[in-house]
Point group: C2
Chain length 221, copies 2
C-alpha cells in the first residue's frame, strides 16, 4: 500500500502550508470559502450570480482548473479580482498553490476570498487549503445518491448548496431522498436549495456568506 504512504507524506506537507495560510487569512480578516463540486455542477455560474450581490473591492476569487483560464476571465469581466491557477492535469488545488496565488495578488481591502476548486468530487476534499469553510455544490441533474457515493466531500463541508433547482421537476429529483443521503454522511449539514438561473436561494446563501465574513472579522480582532 505504498500509495497510501505517499499520500500521507504529501498531505503532511500540504497541511503545514495550510496552517500558514490560515494564519495569514486570520491576521488579515479574510473569510475563505473553498467551493467543491463535480464538473458541470454550475460552480462558476453560481459564483457569477453570487458576486452580483457583493462589493468588488472586498472580494477576490481564485479559480482552479485543469486547463484554460476561462473561469477567471468570467469573474474578471464582472469587475472582481481573479487569479487563475491552471493545474495542467492536477486533480485538486493544494495549500502551496493557494500560497503562490496570494503572493501574486493584491489582497488589500479583501475580506472575502472564494476558491473555486478543480471540478472533482473526490481529491479536492482531502486537501486543506487554509480555508474557513468547504462548501459542496451538488446539482439536481446529478441524481440523489452523490452524498453516499462521495461521502468525504459532504462530511468535510460546512454547507451544501443544491444547485439547478429549476431543473428539479424536469429530472424528477427526489429532494427527500437527497436530504436523507446528505444527513446520513453528515448529520445536521445545512442545505440551501439554489438556482443560478432563476436566483432561487441566493439571498439565503449571500446571508450565510455575510455571517462567515462577520465571524472572521471578529476572530481577527
Amino acid at each position: 500500500m505504498s500509495v497510501i504512504t505517499v499520500e500521507r507524506r504529501i498531505l503532511q506537507k500540504n497541511d503545514e502550508i495550510a496552517v500558514a495560510n490560515r494564519h495569514y487569512f486570520l491576521r488579515n480578516g479574510i473569510a475563505v470559502i473553498n467551493l467543491l463540486s463535480s464538473p458541470g455542477a454550475g460552480k462558476t455560474t453560481l459564483l457569477e450570480r453570487t458576486l452580483q450581490h457583493l462589493d468588488p473591492p472586498t472580494v477576490m476569487v481564485i479559480e482552479g482548473d485543469v486547463q484554460t483560464d476561462r473561469d477567471a476571465q468570467r469573474i474578471a469581466a464582472l469587475g472582481f479580482r481573479a487569479v487563475q491557477i491552471v493545474t495542467h492535469g492536477g486533480c485538486h488545488l493544494d495549500a502551496g498553490l493557494i500560497r503562490d496565488a496570494m503572493n501574486s495578488a493584491d489582497l488589500s481591502g479583501v475580506s472575502l476570498l472564494f476558491i473555486e476548486n478543480v471540478g472533482n468530487l473526490v481529491c479536492p476534499a482531502c486537501f486543506d487549503l487554509g480555508e474557513d469553510h468547504k462548501v459542496v455544490i451538488s446539482s439536481t441533474t446529478e441524481g440523489e445518491d452523490k452524498p453516499i457515493k462521495y461521502p468525504r466531500v459532504f462530511r468535510e463541508a460546512s454547507l451544501c448548496l443544491l444547485n439547478k433547482m429549476d431543473l428539479a421537476p424536469v429530472v424528477e429529483f427526489d429532494q427527500e431522498a437527497y436530504g436523507k443521503h446528505v444527513h446520513a454522511v453528515h448529520p445536521g449539514l445545512e442545505i440551501i436549495n439554489v438556482s443560478a438561473k432563476t436566483g432561487q436561494g441566493l439571498p439565503a446563501w449571500v446571508d450565510w456568506l455575510s455571517h462567515a465574513q462577520q465571524d472572521k472579522l471578529r476572530a481577527s480582532r
Copy 2:
C-alpha cells in the same frame, strides 16, 4: 515537484500490470470498455439501458465507486455478472484493482467487459487498466466547455457519448460549440448523442460495441 515524481512511479507500476491485463483479455477474446465521466453524468443508467440490448452470459461489469455497492446491485438486478470495487476514498481505478476483480470473478463465456470507473473527469484518465477503449460520457447538463477544461480524458477516448440529450433543449445546450471543443482537443473523435431516458442513440452505441467485440475476437484468434 516531488508529486510528479511520485505519480510517475505509481504509473510505471500500474502500466506493467495493465500490460498483463491486456494480454489476459486478448488471450480470452474479451473486449474491454473503460467508461469515464464526472459524477452524475448518467454512466450507470446508460449502462443499464445498454445491457437491455446485450446477452447476459456474454457480458460482465466491473463497478468502481468511492463508496457503496449500489451500482453493482443495479447491474446484478438485470441478471448480469457484476463485481463492485469500492475504493474507500480512492479517486480512480488502477490496473491492479482490475486484476484483483478478474481473479475473483468467473469470466467464462464473457466477450465484453464494461469497467465503470469512479466518477471523476481527471484522475481515471491517467490510469491504463488494460482496456481496449476508453469511452468518455459527457452530459448536456454539464455545459459545453468540459472538453477544453478536462482535455486529457477526451484526448484518451476512442468514443464520446453525449448523454441526457432529452435535456438539451431545457438547458439550451449548444451542440455546435460542444463539438468544436471536443474536436479542438481530439480531432475526429466520434460523438454519439444519446439519452438513457428516451433511448436516443442507443442503437448506434450498441453497434459500436458490437464492432469492438468483433475486432477483439479477430485479434485473439
